[in-house]
Subunit: 354 residues, 2 copies
């Protein structure tokens, strides 16, 4: 059995409190005694105060949780999520805080338990869509959190860092509309919860449950409405899951239809890259010229020459962690909107004559 603080106290002949102070409040005892205690501890193989016991007594843990609604392993697959994590990590590092990545089981009961049992002082919630239950648990536990996606029923004063999804998406769509495109497909992940991959009929954008997706689709629609292209004329394509192959599969059939789209606006770079993959997979003689835009500006986007909307990923993570770790006194400062920028590369161009 590992020795406890008590064992060290007994060995030196002082009280438990004094040993505790030797570790946590050096100013509370003489340097000489402190040395004697630390020596004895070394001798006994005492590894320092037990972190769990210390947390219990002190009332805080010294680590923050990061919550992903999807599979934890997925988070490492998504380049945007990785940059976000890097930002959280950088902030955590500065604060001497650890990051706990909590995997959420598929079954809600199990997932709930994971959030209930996480030993953390607060959460950065990366992307809670309809997973309101997770926020309920966090609130019930009385833990602070920062969300990074606009939510439909956010409390006033809730800490948040994100972007104006709608305006950002609109900027990309305006660029494409400005190039003359009128037959356009909008590609997004999980437009409707359990819809199959491929084109989808939606009465309106309000039907989309996920606020981020809804915001981006609205922005796309806004820009086209302005040039006279109504919602009904836009093709919405659903992709189940944010991955390149899924996007490629979902979009593939679209170009073989009569009057195929001349542009595809994707809700993320990953999806857009999937579209480029799908196009590249076709024989050169049967490869339509399609303008493609992404969203996020992940590192891969530049290499692929993808026109996209840049949002500062690392910054988002860093600020999320900082809002959590030292909350601004001013409530308004707890709501951060980051800037976005349209990055035009060569994946977009004028409508081909044909």
């Amino acid at each position: 059995m590992k020795p406890t603080l008590q064992a060290v106290a007994d060995a030196v002949g002082v009280s438990r409190s004094t040993v505790s102070n030797a570790y946590s409040r050096p100013d509370q005892l003489s340097a000489a005694l402190r040395e004697r205690i630390l020596d004895a501890a070394r001798q006994l193989g005492y590894p320092g105060p037990n972190p769990t016991a210390r947390s219990l007594r002190r009332g805080f843990v010294g680590s923050i949780g990061v919550l992903f609604t999807s599979q934890l392993s997925y988070a490492f697959t998504d380049p945007f999520a990785v940059r976000f994590l890097a930002g959280v990590g950088a902030a955590a590092e500065r604060h001497g805080t650890s990051m706990l990545l909590v995997p959420l089981a598929r079954a809600v009961t199990d997932a709930r338990r994971a959030v209930e049992n996480a030993a953390v002082d607060g959460f950065c919630v990366y992307c809670v869509a309809d997973e309101e239950w997770a926020l309920d648990v966090i609130r019930e536990r009385g833990l602070p959190f920062v969300s990074t996606a606009a939510r439909d029923n956010a409390d006033a004063g809730e800490r948040f860092v994100g972007i104006d999804e709608r305006a950002a998406a609109r900027s990309a769509a305006a660029h494409v509309a400005g190039l003359g495109h009128r037959r356009v497909a909008l590609l997004a992940d999980s437009v409707l919860p359990d819809a199959p991959a491929g084109p989808l009929t939606l009465a309106g954008v309000d039907q989309v449950p996920h606020p981020t997706t809804r915001g981006r689709l609205s922005g796309f629609a806004d820009a086209f409405a302005e040039v006279g292209v109504g919602w009904a004329e836009l093709t919405v394509v659903n992709v189940p899951g944010n991955s390149r192959p899924a996007a490629a599969a979902a979009i593939a059939g679209l170009f073989d239809q009569p009057a195929p789209p001349t542009a595809v606006l994707a809700g993320s770079d990953v999806l857009a890259l999937g579209v480029l993959d799908a196009l590249a997979a076709r024989p050169a003689h049967d490869r339509p010229t399609v303008s493609v835009t992404g969203f996020d500006d992940v590192p891969e986007a530049a290499a692929a020459g993808l026109t996209t909307v840049r949002q500062p990923a690392e910054e988002k993570g860093r600020i999320a962690a900082e809002l959590l770790l030292d909350p601004p006194a001013d409530a308004a400062a707890g709501h951060v909107l980051l800037p976005t920028a349209l990055v035009v590369r060569n994946s977009t161009g004028p409508v081909p004559r044909s």
Copy 2:
């Protein structure tokens, strides 16, 4: 104040133990009473047993630590590390365990404390070089760990997952030697702790402290020794830090010297990509034809056409976590050597005539 388990017990009129059982051992009480207790808990806003208190009493935490010797934010920059993390995440997910990422401060005292204070049941040690102190702390705490890099003074029976660095490196070098290259540079991160960037004179490979780097350099040297090129004839180039720009900067001057190398063998893909960057940065008319090899086969390598040694990154993480989470009864099974494979792409070719 959040209600405690006691508060729920009082409200229902049962003992604390019974409430505890309602959460953790449902078979210990009647379904009816359990419902009554959970109802009362909901009513009071009791969020379930406090994770910290529970951990203290139960003696385990339900999360595993991942230790990086370098900056946590760096870990997310290195594509190999990210794949490794994904693997750990996948295994953790299956076990319903969380992952704690512990940032290590630059100052060893602070870094020690971080390891001492991490509330985890064990560690996956990603890349502890000379950071033997970290392992000392872990051992002192009596926690299990799995290391992923061969270490000079590993205990017998220590759990490990990795590759045969030397043989793997040798395969890349043999390929390059087979192409006829004889003037070769070996590029590695932190060949000597505080050496400057650029070429370096080393009496022998034994002087390299980091076992992984030493293993790879030895493998490179092995293959060239076989074709009559001795250690002294090889140029060792030091890069401080595993990053593309650092590699590009370290190698840049090399090609302007008399008798420049016709091949560069890098200790990682990231470094190799840096070399390609450095070459691409030169004007086309002054761009020497140099064969370049990497190590790891990260996703970016394929796109760049980099010849490299593949090692299964995700697998490594997954197995590391699994060795930690359910240790094999058989000690020998705790030492896993993963396969590697030479992947030849177009970054290597015969020596140019000139």
